[in-house]
Symmetry: C2
């Protein structure tokens, strides 16, 4: 079988299929990232959490991945005076997310996949289009400039948000293809906080740092070498400061001095980086169907690219491999005829409502991170949730926990329950029905827990009737 794209999803998929005995050919447009640095100012670290770890575990890669993880236990918010306050991701100690290098993780997956003799990886081979009817992928070699074709039994497109297989679904017009690309008004640009002269992190490496400013924000995730990758999320054309009008060094520096003074002093090469690093767009891609007959299947970002604000993009793509593996195992074991079309359909049926949900949750979190993290109502909600999780670890999980740390329930279920809980809790606070103080007793918290559970169930019940 042919896999187009040896990024995170493609290399994990290749590894899993190889472990199951399939013969796998992967084609990747870029050079081998283990030999050439190809980051070029793009997102170089990511948040790995329980769904992604579950997928790595399935393929025997959890341990190796953990060796290159930096745990982040919560958010550290920076205000424009440089004051900070922290907010844990969970009231349970074992629930945290991890900063991990995209390149390093990809490299260990490629290394492991290559150990299987039924795997061949071809780099510098850009897929130009796919003849989906005849299962022929058309490539161009970026080494020789030569064009070539590869015919396969089955073709998997794990070629990311700009997927060439997905574009072929649109251009070949063999079936009604529902498709959406929705950009937000913000773009992103990456900058760097280097390590100090001893190679240590200059700010806490146990946090994901956020500088929330309403219309825009800065975040920073730690790297193993002591540096942080900083990302500015800013509108292209709205507000006093935006990417289109931050055209001079003076204006850009004035913007950082006013809004992010404590970050500015930590980014020594900001002028060069701001000018030279690309500004990337942020968007959501959804489509359906993911597959064409028994011939082709989209997985990972090619099927469902999302905005980065829930830290779930890679996790969702890895979880695709888990779900696909379950479906495949089921068909392999059962007496049903082994039929790729049926497998692809069963996979989409099991999976699509969950990838749609994480896409919507990621958009929600964009607003939450920008606007709500500093809002008193949301801060009180967050405090209550931490107390509930700490005091009743088996009885309460916030939406964030359900999405991030509960890999055994789907994103869709996590979204529905999490949103109902949020609504219940915010309304209880707004209606002055729950009160907090510094040292809540277990009895007081139990009263709140019961109210939240009751209200959540009522909201879910009310919603059910219309669906």
């Amino acid at each position: 079988m042919l896999i187009i794209g040896a990024g995170l999803c493609g290399s994990l998929l290749a590894l899993r299929l190889a472990q199951k005995g399939y013969k796998v050919e992967i084609y990747e447009s870029r050079p081998d990232l283990r030999k050439v640095d190809i980051s070029a100012g793009r997102s170089i670290n990511l948040a790995l959490s329980d769904r992604g770890l579950k997928a790595l575990r399935l393929c025997g890669m959890e341990e190796k991945a953990r060796e290159i993880c930096i745990p982040m236990y919560g958010r550290l918010m920076h205000d424009s005076q440089g004051n900070t306050f922290s907010s844990n991701y969970s009231g349970r100690e074992n629930e945290y997310i991890n900063s991990i290098s995209r390149g390093d993780l990809n490299a260990i997956l490629l290394d492991e996949a290559e150990k299987h003799e039924n795997v061949n990886i071809h780099f510098n081979s850009g897929c130009k289009k796919v003849d989906i009817e005849n299962k022929i992928a058309h490539f161009k070699s970026y080494e020789t400039g030569e064009k070539f074709k590869v015919k396969a039994d089955v073709i998997f497109g794990t070629d990311g948000a700009g997927s060439s297989l997905r574009k072929s679904y649109i251009s070949e017009r063999k079936f009604l293809f529902s498709y959406s690309q929705n950009y937000i008004n913000h773009g992103y640009k990456e900058l760097e906080i280097p390590a100090d002269k001893n190679g240590n992190h200059q700010i806490s490496k146990e946090h994901l740092h956020i500088w929330p400013r309403g219309d825009f924000m800065l975040i920073a995730l730690p790297n193993m070498d002591g540096s942080f990758t900083v990302t500015l999320f800013l509108s292209y054309d709205e507000g006093e400061y935006n990417f289109n009008n931050l055209t001079s060094e003076e204006k850009m520096i004035a913007f950082f001095e006013k809004e992010f003074p404590d970050a500015l002093v930590l980014i020594p090469n900001i002028k060069e980086e701001f000018a030279n690093n690309p500004t990337g767009p942020l968007g959501t891609i959804k489509c359906s169907p993911w597959s064409y007959q028994n011939k082709t299947l989209l997985m990972g970002d090619s099927a469902h690219a999302i905005v980065p604000f829930y830290g779930q993009g890679m996790n969702a793509s890895f979880e695709d491999v888990v779900v696909f593996d379950e479906i495949l195992c089921h068909f392999e074991r059962s007496r049903e005829i082994f039929d790729w079309e049926a497998i692809f359909k069963a996979y989409q049926k099991a999976r699509k409502h969950d990838t749609d949900a994480i896409a919507d949750l990621a958009i929600d979190n964009f607003y939450e991170m920008r606007d709500h993290v500093a809002n008193p109502l949301f801060k009180e909600k967050r405090k209550i949730e931490m107390d509930l999780e700490k005091t009743f670890p088996n009885q309460y999980s916030s939406k964030y926990s359900l999405v991030t740390f509960n890999e055994n329930i789907g994103y869709n279920e996590a979204m529905k329950k999490g949103r109902a809980q949020d609504k219940a809790l915010l309304n209880l606070i707004a209606d002055d029905e729950v009160h907090t103080h510094l040292e809540m007793t277990k009895e007081e918290l139990k009263v709140i827990l019961d109210k939240v559970i009751y209200e959540t169930d009522r909201i879910l019940e009310e919603d059910k009737i219309l669906s």
Copy 2:
């Protein structure tokens, strides 16, 4: 200015702009429908309601349109035994929708537009692409085969769901263009119930007829000549019967005999029509931005095509003209610099949330028409709503009324209020908190009204906190 497409939206827009003194050139790919019959088995009648009528009124065309309208006061449901029951659209007598011929309505709009010497209409001119940067539209003449270009100050794309201007937005890649096309699994096919030998309607012409069957349905709208246009909505590939498997005459007839026996006897040419009339797809198109700088603007279906299940497609496109006219008047009157870019942006800002809402409502109504119209809970809700509208005409309007008969509130507001009301009422019925019987007194209904208003407000209030 240049308008691409002389369909319903384009011809009304041309008329309105002509009335305001602008010089308008319209290009239409099809021949002049006043001279050539070009219906070819496509949707030939539509539901015209208050939003559309308001737009026609603005252009002085309401009277002429009403002359070719057939009022429909409610739905007449047909079960598979041929039994019928009716359900009015409103408890208020003056609230009804109208069946109108697409071709006849388009013709009177073209006639009226042509009376203005500042309007030129060019038929048989298919737009192939638009150079949006230089405002040059590229056409092909379907009479001579010749290609030609037209340069304009401003270009309006009213060229429908397959808009060539919109495709140029995608292909020219001048800006980040958010775009979605979402097909439902059902297609549609049109059939005909002819007039009887005296030229009269064979079934009630005062109703929109529906044969709801869960997974599929048939509807029929009356025409002025005594015939009905019948539309079958059916899945392409799911269920026992679908478009892909109704391949033989025998199977198709067996399907109609089982499901629509009373309709079958009224469609004498069903075999030819089923075989020869095309099966059309049904989808929703959303996009943003609608405009490019001060150069081009999408309006009508080209900006927001919707599924037909709320009978609002034409009404929404006509309402576009009303909203655009308001914005244009405002800029003409005000001392602000007259700037098409600002006008286009103000128009989208005022309009998009409403066209998004009617798109979602139309999808909702697909499920309601197929599934809910025969559901006891929904029937009881409908009965209560009719009683409330009849008894308290100024205090209650159902979601359907808000959307269809209240042209002075936007679709978005109608959707939010209507959905909250539906949820309130369905929950009150399900929780046994309201009871109906045949002859409700005004006092009994007042109690229900108060409960519904209270619950609706509570639901709207609860939702507000999360947004």
